[in-house]
């Protein structure tokens, strides 16, 4: 039988607010264990949570970016279970009335656009982190993470392949980064993706039995885990076995999922509204304030780069990849750089140089205005592109004003015709072979001669002018 997979994704995002969601402790992954703790996040007797408004702001921003409806009235609930990483033995979360609901995210897969429904995005608190000594014996709990604000974003079962899941996660992460609400670091756990996977006979409209996969540490891991699960489930069904509804862990080393089912009994979380917290009431003005604060989002920006600035699909994609890069590009254009040239420099030399240094645009010392200035110097013939390329590593490393550097180092292009004509005669004399080829009709031979002239001027010659002078000289003979 032919099957089709149906996939939904749950993504947990740690919001990068300065303090935790219900107390004033620092929200910092890199602090020593149990240093960002207080009676509230340790669940001491008598303490009370107070909701961090920054969490509501950030969650609303994500909700709006995902085209969600923002609830005018939502509430915080308690979700109960016993585990040493859960200080109060309940997690404060949102059960039946999430802050954000009924949104969507448009993604692109193989050039085609596809809409993934967002069921909900709700606010909750992260748990502490348990660590165990190798071989057992001692378990420790680090409560730094307990009470870190967490946004859970849940999709509809609208995803039908591992590639679509990958595209969704990539687009979602891009939005979260644009909003600057999370570090989105999967290795550090600030972004965690858990796919729900089921398969059904192709054409069927009912859903098959699903499994949930946890412990996936990268987007490509998610893709592999989904591919594995689809194959595993299809194989089970084909051989007459049933798929069991369960949680499975991704074993990245072996490339397989493993059942994590401990007991048959389902959890009864005994949700009820947290009486310690007031309902979250959002009025029009609050929602509007957040809407106004939203940056231009990745898709809109890419569209503007293509339609208004006439960039190619590829360039618009690369330049718009991160908000920092797109901001850099926009700033260069505002400073007067022609968009296409700015995009060429960024997607080419600049990103390549940064990549060599395992760095990104935020570490680039060359200001966008300096890039515009450099492009201007090429445009007005002050320097050649070759010189610009030579200058670039220094500019990226140390910054500075390109014009001043060009003058200081004497890199101004030689555009003096008399000087270049003299040089052209010498080049023709020294390289009679290529000169003859050109005369015989091989126009490409001029490239070699121009190259020699550029070498002789240490790149300072105006290549266009040299080309012209050499062509004239050879044609007039």
């Amino acid at each position: 039988m032919e099957y089709e997979p149906v996939i939904g994704l749950e993504v947990h995002v740690e919001i990068n607010s300065r303090s935790k969601v219900f107390c004033a402790c620092l929200n910092n992954f890199h602090s020593p264990p149990n240093s960002n703790v207080c009676p509230v996040c340790l669940g001491m007797p008598g303490v009370l949570p107070v909701l961090n408004v920054a969490m509501v702001d950030a969650s609303m921003a994500v909700g709006l970016a995902l085209n969600c409806t923002i609830s005018r009235w939502s509430k915080m609930d308690r979700k109960h279970y016993f585990y040493p990483d859960l200080a109060k033995s309940y997690q404060i979360s949102q059960y039946d009335l999430p802050l954000c609901h009924d949104g969507y995210l448009d993604i692109e897969v193989d050039g085609a656009s596809k809409r993934v429904g967002i069921t909900r995005a709700h606010m909750e608190e992260d748990t502490a982190r348990n660590t165990h000594t190798i071989g057992g014996g001692i378990s420790g709990v680090d409560f730094n993470r307990c009470g870190v604000p967490l946004l859970e974003i849940v999709t509809e079962p609208d995803i039908f392949s591992a590639d679509e899941a990958f595209a969704y996660l990539t687009a979602l992460k891009q939005i979260l980064e644009y909003l600057n609400v999370s570090d989105c670091n999967m290795e550090e756990g600030s972004l965690r993706a858990e796919p729900n996977i089921s398969v059904r006979p192709k054409g069927s409209t009912t859903l098959g039995v699903k499994t949930e996969v946890k412990n996936v540490a990268s987007f490509s891991g998610v893709r592999k885990a989904i591919e594995f699960e689809i194959k595993r489930q299809v194989k089970a069904l084909d051989s007459g076995e049933a798929v069991v509804q369960e949680t499975r862990g991704w074993d990245a080393d072996r490339g397989i999922t493993v059942s994590q089912r401990v007991k048959e009994s389902a959890h009864d979380y005994r949700y009820f509204p947290d009486p310690d917290l007031m309902p979250v009431v959002v009025d029009d003005a609050w929602e509007e304030r957040i809407r106004q604060s939203l940056p231009e989002l990745p898709q809109a920006r890419k569209r503007r780069f293509r339609e208004d600035l006439d960039l190619s699909e590829y360039d618009a994609g690369v330049v718009g990849m991160t908000k920092d890069l797109a901001d850099y590009f926009d700033a260069a254009v505002v400073a007067g750089a022609p968009a296409k040239q700015a995009a060429n420099w960024i997607t080419g030399e600049i990103l390549a140089t940064l990549a060599e240094r395992k760095s990104d645009i935020t570490a680039c010392k060359m200001k966008p205005e300096a890039l515009a200035s450099m492009i201007g110097l090429i445009g007005d013939g002050t320097i050649s592109g070759t010189i610009a390329k030579e200058l670039l590593p220094d500019l990226i490393e140390s910054g500075g004003d390109p014009k001043a550097i060009v003058e200081e180092r004497g890199l101004v292009q030689i555009s003096d015709s008399a000087e270049l004509e003299e040089l052209a005669q010498a080049i023709i004399r020294d390289h009679p072979g290529p000169a003859q080829e050109f005369r015989d009709g091989n126009k490409k031979a001029i490239g070699f001669l121009v190259g020699q002239a550029m070498k002789a001027t240490k790149g300072k010659g105006n290549p266009k002018l040299i080309n012209q002078i050499l062509t004239d000289a050879l044609s007039q003979e």
Binding site: G46, L51, P84, Y90, L277
Partner: protein, 489 residues
């Protein structure tokens, strides 16, 4: 003279300290000596902080000598229920679970008492985790009623009521979830107030039922209620449920009198279930208030019969959640023989909690369980809304509601312990105020023929504690007979 200092009210005490008539150290010594003499018969304290209290009193005296104002409660000795967190000493909730627990922080009310210049004498007994009506559920000891040592002081703030009635502090603080201040105040013949939900910060009160709990004072008179409520009330940024409303000057509104005030008498509270002796004293108090110019009007609170059922569903549900954190992992009792995490939870809770606490955790777990939530918890919340509406409706026709605090006077030890349902029914007149979130107080209104105090309960509109204090003050000034000191006081 200093031998009698422990008999003074809080406002008299601080006035005499300020006037130089006495000093905080002298007052504190008077109380410590009196505690020494009566505590063996009352057993209200779980811990007396003798040296910290002396040091604190000296600091207050030094501040006064230096011309500073140490606050409205300067030098007044206070003791507090042991479910309020203090850095000093232990915070045990009278439970084996927390017998060695030291809080890393002070409750907001403790900070406020400090800021007001009060001298903390120590921590008081209670029913374990504030669950009970007699103090017999304390895992530590039994507190006796200062009016009759064969009788219970009431609960759960039994230690706080008995301590005050025995003059072992100038005032005390307790907590009231379903009557835990008003019932023992009634049984022990003192004033006790449960403020409006949100009036006093709950930060640092070990939670029993978060939507019902309020901290409040036990005092010797109405003027002290005014003084102390003003000192502990107000918005606290650490408690999201505390109300951001101004705190009135109760000491001045207190003297406005009750002339023209309408006192509502709910017909559902004055029934055959009421002990005749109690009814007689309550009626006399109402006549005294009428003599002061108040108008008595009959009102109806039609959903009263559901209050106990609703209360025991909501309070146990919240308790099962609030007490889940006592798992033996980070603090509190930890069973030494646990072989697994599940064992650790099961054994620590089974041995750390007493039977009544376990009963309520199990009840609460049940009513929140999948499949039962709608039938119990959700339905109870809806009924709670109806109870609240009853009061809204009633308060369109009266300013204050008056009822007996309890159908009976204090029970004898053991009288109700075999039948939890009978015990729960003792809360019949008090739980509604918690469910509706409105303020209530109990004030003594005479002795029954068995020699035990009877309490009059006054209920007010939300955040209108001023009307309750004004009414209580008017009653005190009406010339109605006062109780005099308790035999063990």
């Amino acid at each position: 003279m200093s031998a009698e200092l422990f008999r003074l009210s809080a406002h008299e005490t601080t006035a005499r300290i300020r006037s130089g008539d006495t000093n905080a150290r002298e007052v504190t010594e008077s109380y410590l000596a009196h505690i020494e003499s009566v505590e063996p018969k009352v057993d209200a304290y779980l811990d007396v902080w003798r040296e910290p209290a002396r040091a604190r009193a000296e600091a207050i005296d030094a501040a006064i000598a230096a011309g500073q104002n140490p606050g409205p409660l300067a030098g007044v000795p206070v003791a507090i229920k042991d479910n309020l967190c203090t850095r000093e000493g232990r915070t045990t909730c009278a439970s084996k679970m927390l017998e060695n627990f030291e809080s890393p922080y002070d409750a907001t009310v403790v900070e406020k008492l400090d800021a007001a210049g009060a001298v903390l004498l120590g921590k008081l007994n209670l029913d374990e985790f504030a669950m009970g009506s007699t103090n017999e559920n304390s895992a530590v000891k039994v507190t006796r009623n200062p009016w009759d040592s064969d009788r219970v002081p009431g609960g759960s703030s039994g230690g706080a009521a008995a301590c005050l009635a025995a003059n072992e502090a100038a005032f005390t603080l307790g907590s009231d979830t379903g009557g835990s201040i008003r019932l023992p105040a009634s049984f022990c013949g003192c004033l006790g107030m449960k403020p409006t939900y949100g009036r006093v910060s709950r930060y640092g009160l070990v939670a029993f039922a978060s939507s019902l709990d309020q901290i409040g004072p036990f005092t010797k008179d109405a003027e002290d209620l005014a003084l102390i409520l003003a000192a502990i009330a107000g918005k606290d940024p650490r408690d999201a449920t505390s109300a951001d409303l101004p705190v009135p000057d109760y000491s001045s509104t207190m003297r406005d009198g009750v002339s023209g005030s309408r006192i509502g008498l709910p017909k559902e509270y004055f029934t055959d279930a009421l002990d005749g002796e109690v009814g007689k004293q309550v009626d006399a108090a109402l006549q005294a208030l009428k003599g002061e110019g108040a108008e008595l009007v009959e009102i109806s609170l039609p959903h009263t019969e559901y209050a106990i059922a609703v209360y025991y569903i909501i309070c146990t549900a919240e308790a099962s959640s609030n007490l889940a954190r006592f798992d033996g992992v980070r603090y509190g009792y930890r069973h030494p023989d646990a072989a697994s995490v599940e064992d650790l939870y099961r054994l620590s809770k089974s041995e750390g909690f007493g039977l009544e606490v376990q009963r309520r955790i199990l009840l609460g777990t049940y009513v929140l369980s999948s499949g039962y939530y709608d039938a119990y918890y959700l339905k109870a919340q809806k009924a709670r809304g109806l109870l609240r509406r009853d009061f809204d409706e009633a308060f369109t026709r009266c300013d204050v509601i008056a009822t007996p605090t309890s159908p009976t006077t204090a029970y004898k030890f053991g009288e109700k312990m075999d039948d939890p349902l009978q015990m729960y029914l003792g809360d019949i007149f008090t739980t509604s105020a918690n469910l509706a979130g409105i303020p209530g107080l109990s004030m003594p209104c005479g002795l029954a023929s068995n020699g035990m105090p009877v309490g009059l309960q006054l209920l007010g509109k939300p955040f209108d504690e001023a009307a309750l204090i004004r009414t209580a003050y008017a009653y005190e000034k009406s010339g109605a007979p006062t109780l005099g000191p308790a035999p063990l006081g």
